[in-house]
């Protein structure tokens, strides 16, 4: 392996919101790369480039003029690593570990509700989220953390939505258990 983690000059996690589509969840700069690419503007393009369509081959890395991006999907999210071109082809597996480590590291503060400011949802958005959750859970079981990844919601917000759906008898808890996660399906 000739991979050197120091070649990494930035990382970003592009999340996916069921209503708005891709969005930049967070970025981490090891060196300044703001002049190379505006991530806020390009988040959706990167997401589409790596995950576009439903089937077929998907790229693992895309080489640009001054940098390349290696992206690793995790559920609906996409972790992008920005690097200088230098014999990356043999290093994909190593980079995958790095990406997952970064994602894990960045997930910890999120559990405490400190990493991302979640906007207070307006009633209309909450109603749309509820409609989508009922559709998504039709005929399948999913855990609360899995459902949360479909929306820009904190733990407390997804629980509030699920509790309201449960009270309205739209969804119910299932007997499935995986750790402490509660699984849901439609009534």
């Amino acid at each position: 392996m000739n991979f050197n983690e120091n070649e990494l000059f930035g990382a970003a996690l592009i999340g996916f919101d069921m209503i708005d589509g891709p969005f930049l969840r967070w970025k981490k700069a090891y060196k300044d790369f703001s002049n190379l690419v505006n991530l806020d503007d390009f988040a959706m393009n990167f997401y589409l480039a790596f995950r576009g369509g439903n089937a077929g081959k998907k790229p693992r890395a895309i080489l640009y003029d001054e940098f390349y991006i290696v992206a690793f999907p995790k559920d609906l999210e996409l972790c992008c690593l920005f690097m200088k071109p230098n014999g990356v082809d043999k290093n994909i597996q190593q980079l995958n570990k790095v990406a997952h480590r970064i994602m894990t590291d960045m997930e910890i503060p999120d559990d405490d509700g400190e990493q991302m400011e979640v906007e207070e949802s307006v009633d209309e958005t909450v109603e749309e989220i509820k409609r989508l959750i009922v559709n998504i859970l039709s005929g399948v079981e999913m855990s609360t953390p899995e459902l949360r990844r479909y929306f820009k919601l904190s733990n407390s917000q997804i629980w509030k939505v699920m509790s309201e759906l449960e009270t309205a008898r739209k969804v119910k808890r299932t007997d499935t258990k995986k750790g402490r996660s509660v699984f849901w399906t439609v009534q």
Binding site: F16, G21, M44, G52, V134, N135
Partner: protein, 178 residues
């Protein structure tokens, strides 16, 4: 490409809010296995389906706002047949009405818009609307469908075949005018 070949090409676009069953409808049409686990379409998915003498290029557009805002103008261009899919829930049907008004700006006036009142298997279970009610709200011809039910493929192909006949007539008339 020869004009005779071009005349056989038909662009079918499928639009609608997220998680209403657009991709399931495409899979139903292309005889693919329908997976009940939901995975959103990113951007759009394009499939080719042969039907009678026609070659359908079916565009399944991701329903998320960002995708629709960014790509609807370009991707709807040249559509011969537009499907607007709803999950038949009252709220979604109202949203779909707005979607129709928006999409109408980017398609030809003669392009038929067909409403699909999907998830009809759930109508009696959780207050979704029957196709006739959806049609009254959308004000476009609307058909009920359960896209996850392979038996409904015939229903969907019949709808399309019926529209293909009209498209063929319109194209012939245009050729004569030219």
């Amino acid at each position: 490409m020869l004009s005779s070949e071009l005349n056989k090409l038909v662009k079918v676009s499928i639009i609608g809010s997220p998680a209403v069953g657009k991709t399931s409808m495409l899979k139903l049409l292309s005889k693919n296995t329908i997976d009940r686990l939901y995975m959103p379409t990113h951007g759009f998915d394009l499939k080719t389906v042969k039907m009678d003498d026609f070659i359908l290029k079916v565009w399944d557009m991701g329903g998320q706002n960002q995708y629709f805002r960014a790509y609807s103008r370009d991707s709807l261009l040249g559509t011969d047949l537009l499907f607007v899919v709803t999950d038949s829930s009252p709220r979604n049907v109202l949203n779909s009405r707005e979607l129709i008004s928006f999409a109408a700006n980017f398609i030809d006036k003669e392009c038929p818009i067909i409403g699909i009142a999907n998830k009809q298997d759930l109508v009696k279970k959780d207050g979704r609307m029957e196709a006739k009610r959806v049609e009254n709200i959308l004000k476009v011809q609307t058909h009920g469908l359960t896209a996850i039910d392979p038996d409904h493929r015939v229903l969907l192909t019949d709808i399309i075949k019926n529209e293909l006949k009209k498209i063929a007539v319109r194209r012939r008339l245009k050729d004569i005018e030219l």
